[in-house]
Symmetry: C2
Subunit: 330 residues, 2 copies
């Protein structure tokens, strides 16, 4: 019978650049959670390999510590600089792709970005999301469907965009409440509609550490004009996406890698009948968009299938526990 | 003749988990600095591989964003939680080992830790660094020498330790100035000496994100009793080290991987002559330590040699520019 006493803490002494990695992994292996143990093993391996491959200098290490500290301290109730960092490093796109693979014909995802808030007002069909007088009026006519084209009713839809100056409400000093935001629900026919303003291209915040990093890298900070949508309903895969206005000068060089061809839309001039039907002026542009959701079940199956195939091709002997890989020690 | 016009911004569209890495590297390659370009290429590669190998979930990504944010926000003028994170992940030990390889017979390095400050008082030989009445009196007699045994005069020596409760001064609320710290210089004979208290083992701060991480990993937060020393003089390799008191219960399980056998010291009882010579009481313990410094030149040569060998064994085609590796594109 195996002993049930916990193993003694592993001994560590005389650690060098050659033995620090297995020893750090060994001491972290005391963790009772197999998934966290695996995450830490991969994190420590990659972090140490990074330092060894680059022969990271003490000055560079210090600069990295200071950069991360400033990034954390730039975060506030209305600003998330670490999400912005993840976005510009391509990590956000990657994590979305891993977690929300799309079955054929489903609407593709895009980056959440750092500007989503939880205080957007719940609004009814036809609401005006932006009161910015400088904005060009836009009528947004949407529908939510499943892969067979059937409407999905009662989907919670979170919408956010910048004002006409290219700033989200949270970027203005003294913000006293949400604007250019709203939460609504799709109707029985899967439809939802609202009034907003034509999105404009804008730079991600350049006054913080992430903006400074882009500048050092010679990268521009611009995002092409877009409007964010987040769609959720139990039983359906959570969809974080955005639609991009065709012809934007930054369409192919989005600073956060968010643009997909299937998400680029044409804004159309309005016709008399539509203007009359929705009670909007004739200088209003129209955006029509259909969102096609995957079920939670089919997304989970596809995610698991992708994971098993990817791990196998990486030569890793893994099993999925709660849909997440851990080493298969059996 | 090659065109000198800058290349156009690389185009990015329809990024997926399979093509995001080369595209992120490609857009970062606009960076004019070859070293930063290489650092970013390795960072992005490892960060993306980590997400792909673990199939990092959105919930885990969110937890990581929140952890990093809390870590940054725990930092203050007197607390550096990111250094602590680097310490417990074994990165600090590794970066020190890469940057300060020791020629034979030189004193080994140890982790700087997050508690060094820049406000320690400059003190003369014989100073009392700790006024903590609960501390056990300690006489510290040191000498600085080169590898041939010759004294090195006028070395700036920075010394810091905890009080008898196991806390650095900066860990006490309402700290009104430095204590258990001092900066002194070696004399003509390479010697320096001071009075302090016998170091005690202590836990690294457990009230922040790093302490919480250790707890989740099933790791204890303790460091064995030690005293920090930092020695610097132009022409000599900067030495960050510590001496550890033999027999500490955490000697072989230091939470930050700092202990080396060569840095473990015996505290001796004092004899009458020594007590009289230094004017200390007979209940004082004595710590005798010799620090052997490498020259800047021999350390740089050893570091370069190690770098070239390591990069070659990793199969990387690199050259050193200002002693730091960059890809050799010639």
């Amino acid at each position: 019978m195996a002993s049930t006493a916990p193993p003694p803490t592993p001994e560590l002494l005389d650690l060098t650049m050659d033995n620090i990695t297995p020893n750090t992994i060994r001491i972290n292996a005391q963790c009772p959670d197999a998934r966290l143990r695996y995450l830490m093993e991969r994190l420590v391996t990659h972090l140490h390999d990074l330092a060894r491959e680059t022969r990271l200098s003490t000055a560079e290490w210090t600069a990295a510590i200071q950069f991360l500290t400033r990034t954390g301290q730039t975060c506030s109730a209305v600003r998330q600089e670490f999400i912005l960092l993840s976005d510009v490093l391509g990590l956000s796109l990657l994590v979305d792709a891993v977690n929300h693979p799309k079955p054929a014909s489903c609407t593709e995802g895009s980056v959440l970005g750092p500007f989503h808030t939880h205080d957007a007002p719940v609004v009814a069909a036809g609401a005006r999301l932006s009161a910015d007088p400088a904005g060009e009026p836009l009528l947004v006519l949407c529908a939510v469907r499943d892969r067979a084209g059937r409407p999905i009713a009662d989907v919670k839809v979170d919408i956010w965009e910048t004002d006409a100056s290219g700033h989200y409400d949270v970027q203005h000093e003294g913000r006293d409440g949400p604007s250019e935001r709203g939460v609504m629900r799709s109707g029985e026919d899967g439809g939802f509609w609202f009034r907003a303003i034509v999105p404009v291209s804008y730079p991600i915040p350049t006054d913080g550490p992430v903006g400074q990093l882009l500048q050092m890298l010679g990268r521009h900070p611009w995002r092409p004009a877009h409007m964010h949508f987040m769609l959720e309903k139990p039983g359906w895969d959570h969809l974080v996406t955005a639609v991009y206005v065709r012809g934007d000068p930054y369409e192919k060089t989005d600073a956060v890698f968010g643009v997909k061809q299937s998400l680029i839309v044409d804004l159309e001039p309005i016709d008399d009948a539509t203007a009359a039907q929705y009670g909007v002026s004739l200088d209003t542009k129209v955006l029509r968009q259909e969102f096609v959701l995957a079920s939670e079940k089919e997304t989970a199956e596809l995610r698991d299938k992708n994971a098993v195939e990817a791990l196998k091709s990486l030569g890793l002997n893994m099993k999925l526990v709660d849909h997440l890989p851990v080493p298969d020690l059996d």
